[in-house]
């Protein structure tokens, strides 16, 4: 196997996650996904494919949805990160989380954090999306359980509840 004598350096990397400052020591090419799960203990970030195809590792980085399996941790230095753990406030679920529960939008739950964050990203830009817009916003998130209909309905329901329609 590898016989490198090279001593790889870990770097100190800091970012904000769900409003809290975090500092980690990591190799710069470690995946943001692994650092969040293993060092920051945010296991709501899920690994599905590990190659950008499934969206189960989706998080928000500086306000935009990204797949954390494709982000080297160094590129998250100084970033502002939101994971599924950051959506609920105290004991109250976020309106999207409640809608997913009420409409059967989650079954095994592996895709759910990514789905909800993709929906959160959509609703932050477009509070009253059409069915087509919901489909496009979630097109990078795969679900093996629900068949998507309940997920789309959950997002539409959350949009109705939060715009009071």
């Amino acid at each position: 196997m590898s016989t490198t004598t090279h001593q790889p350096q870990k770097s100190e990397i800091s970012f904000t996650v769900n409003g809290q400052r975090a500092t980690v020591h990591a190799h710069p090419m470690e995946r943001l996904l692994d650092v969040l799960r293993q060092q920051v203990n945010l296991t709501g970030v899920k690994e599905g494919c590990g190659e950008g195809e499934c969206g189960s590792c989706s998080i928000l980085m500086n306000g935009v949805l990204v797949n954390s399996c494709l982000v080297p941790i160094l590129q998250a230095n100084d970033a502002d990160i939101i994971t599924i753990e950051g959506l609920a406030s105290q004991d109250r679920l976020h309106v999207l989380q409640q809608a997913f529960l009420d409409c059967g939008g989650a079954q095994c739950g592996i895709c759910t954090p990514g789905m909800i964050l993709a929906a959160f990203h959509l609703l932050s830009k477009n509070p009253q999306p059409s069915r087509e817009e919901i489909g496009e916003a979630l097109s990078g998130n795969l679900c093996r359980c629900t068949g998507y209909t309940q997920i789309f309905e959950s997002v539409a329901e959350a949009a109705r509840r939060s715009t009071g329609r």
Partner: protein
Amino acid sequence: MRSNPADYELLAPATLKSILSILADEPGSWRPIAGGTDLMVQYAAGNLAARKLVSIWGLRELRHIDVLPDEVRIGAGSTYTDLRANAIIESEFPLLSTAASWTGGIANQNRGTIGGNIVNASPAADSLPALLVYEAELILVSVRGERRVPYVTFHTGYRQTRLAPDELVLAVCMRRRYSEYQAYARKVGPRNAQAISKVCIAALSRLAGGVVDDIRIAMGSVAPIPLRLKETETTIRGHRVDPALVSMAQQRAAAEIQPIDDIRSTARYRRAVAGNLVGEFLNRLGSGNAR
């Protein structure tokens, strides 16, 4: 097998100048990484040969879209989301914003960059046929200075480019002269988001007095590089669109491309689809509604 992060170096200098001097100090040993949507996939699979990487993600000098009086200059670090959000690109270069909307899901569009698509140089890349038909020029930059090259000359063979080891793509420039053209774009694949094209097309045409006065057609996944179909264009230019012309153009296109069999499709299917796409484009032109 997954790569070990300890085997890789990654630097993130704050300025373009310092990145260019790193590239110049040891030409060929440092690989730029932008959104990582191609490189990190190779890394995940244990196939990333480059061990020294330098991040250009979010670099101010690369991430802006300048609308000048006669051209639009897109920084190579602009993401697909940046492209889709730009009103001038949407109205004057619709083939590019449409291709951006095809490039994976929203998370991928938030990270993938136009510069990454160009230098990754996949023959299946979705944005590259649009750059061919808009006759884009690239600005390449190194410590030696900037040079401007016509994009059509950039790809020299399968995944080969004219980029020197110490160079970055700085920007993509397109002249603002296509407002009278009808645009046609289509991706043929299992689905638009998250699937690599079997064939994709970008085409532009301008009619004058019922005659095709200018036409540009480019396709992806039909040759070792993104291909402009010059011979097919010559067959069409100066003629009225009628069934005889459509059929001649379709035959020309099928002969001009060099598709292969691969895991996504067959050469035979790609030839048939390429002909059908040319036919669909011309027929819509005839009816005045190419988009």
